[in-house]
């Protein structure tokens, strides 16, 4: 779905003159403008309306998964005694 505030992640395959060929996971490579970011081949960018607006890294993606695990594993220490009784 192409909407105006959605940006789509793509892998940078080739860089030339402020433009890059990127792979959206489709067969065809597309050209996007990379003047708004500093990016190298092999990195992922968020592409919005033909322009890369941010660089993503694998480590940051891992960081999201780590944050989620941490949130799920955190003991809900705030749960009151009363609620525990209710849940029982």
């Amino acid at each position: 779905m192409k909407t105006m505030c959605l940006a789509i992640p793509a892998k940078v395959v080739k860089v030339q003159n402020g433009k890059a060929l990127v792979d959206f996971g489709e067969v065809v490579l597309r050209e996007v403008d990379i003047s708004l970011v500093d990016v190298e081949v092999g990195e992922y960018v968020l592409v919005h309306a033909g322009y890369a607006i941010q660089v993503l890294s694998r480590e940051e993606a891992e960081e999201t998964l780590r944050l989620w695990r941490e949130l799920l594993e955190a003991e809900s220490s705030l749960e009151t005694k009363q609620q525990r009784v209710q849940n029982a």
Binding site: M1, K2, T3, M4, C5, L6, A7, P9, G25, D33, S35, L36, V37, D38, Y44, L46, H48, A49, G50, Y51, I53, Q54, L56, S57, R58, E60, A61, E62, E63, T64, L65, L67, W68, L71, L72, S76, L78, E79, Q83, Q86
Partner: protein, 360 residues
């Protein structure tokens, strides 16, 4: 990214939904507001509201750029098109209603209106046809504004100018907090706008308004985790700014993009469809770029228009005051095929998203 499959793990979704149920208040209803059409799409498309307990309500704020563009600015684009200027616009700007006509109506009358995917396309068109005057109707929030700024700073061809209609998200969020009976308890801030403006742009919400604020991504799990993070803050009685979307959003945001925007634009007060004038909420090309400002070049300035057609409830839907299904026109007089209001036109409009998901 290849990792996206893990971002849709059903087991994780089940577990976070459980956490939400545990953390949600048992009696009082909390209202969480997002301000992004893509968040509304994720929530509606994946049926996330059905996973939430009855005490958690998620409402959609003014997060559809096409919807919030006032009729007066569409009227300016229509007037230019009817004057013989080629108007290039994004796909869903074509049908957004002006006071009387949309750009599509103008095209039906013979005007040359072309759909483009990016500002770059408009530049290429103008280069290829130097004998014609081109105007790019630049709609969009902070995600789109840097690309317009970039093309202006690159000195586009002389036959191209810009009808700048960019709007800023934080002022719209502040407006929502000023509406007394809306009673918002927390914000989900828009992920992709935030990749540009950074977490820092929302500091005011927890600090000055004591409003829990979480920047979130667009996978269903991103949204569920953001809801959980807000509920946790509410339960703890605190208001913090948190980042769920760490894989794309930093505290500073994209500084390069921010600098380019600052070189091209001044921030000025501006009209939003159905919401009136919001202070420091729109962008205007700086005086030194006046040659590329379509309003200056063609001496056109329309300051008022008819934003809301009779019966349409767009102004209430855009602030999350009512749901689309509460509008008497929804899926009766107003459908995606024959839209009445802007919220049914924009791909990110709440009515359009609900219609496409067949919510009745």
């Amino acid at each position: 990214m290849l990792e996206h499959l893990r971002f849709r793990n059903p087991d994780l979704a089940k577990r976070v939904a459980e956490k939400i149920r545990e953390t949600a208040p048992k009696k009082d209803v909390v209202k969480i507001c997002h301000v992004c059409g893509t968040h509304e799409w994720t929530i509606t498309h994946y049926g996330l509201r059905s996973l939430l307990p009855s005490t958690v309500e998620v409402i959609a704020g003014p997060g559809c750029p096409v919807c919030v563009t006032p009729a007066s600015e569409v009227d300016e684009a229509v007037a230019l098109a009817l004057k013989g200027v080629v108007v290039a616009c994004f796909g869903d700007a074509l049908r957004v209603p002006g006071s009387e006509k949309s750009l599509l109506d103008a095209r039906a009358e013979g005007a040359d209106v072309r759909v483009v995917y990016s500002a770059m396309d408009a530049v290429h068109m103008a280069e290829k046809e130097p004998d014609k005057e081109f105007v790019f109707f630049a709609i969009g929030f902070e995600t789109t504004a840097p690309s317009t700024a970039l093309e202006v700073l690159r000195k586009p061809p002389r036959n191209l100018s810009f009808l700048v209609s960019h709007r800023l998200i934080p002022p719209a969020m502040e407006l929502l907090l000023g509406i007394g009976d809306l009673n918002i308890d927390g914000f989900i801030a828009p992920g992709h706008v935030s990749t540009v403006i950074g977490l820092k742009a929302y500091e005011v919400f927890p600090k000055a308004y004591r409003m829990p604020t979480v920047v979130a991504g667009f996978e269903p799990l991103d949204v569920l985790f953001a809801i959980y993070m807000i509920l946790k803050q509410i339960k703890e009685g605190t208001a913090r700014l948190e980042n769920e979307y760490v894989r794309a959003v930093s505290w500073e945001g994209n500084i390069k993009a921010q600098e380019i925007m600052q070189r091209a634009f001044d921030t000025v007060d501006g009209q939003w469809r159905g919401l009136g004038e919001l202070p420091s909420s729109t962008l205007k090309l700086k005086e030194e770029h006046a040659a590329f400002d379509a309003r200056e070049k063609f001496g056109i300035r329309i300051t008022s228009g008819r934003d809301i057609p009779p019966g349409c409830q767009c102004h209430l839907i855009m602030i999350g005051k009512i749901r689309p299904t509460e509008c008497p026109l929804f899926m009766k007089a107003c459908t995606p095929q024959k839209p009445v209001g802007a919220c049914m036109v924009g791909i990110e409009g709440t009515c359009r998203i609900w219609a496409k998901s067949q919510i009745k």
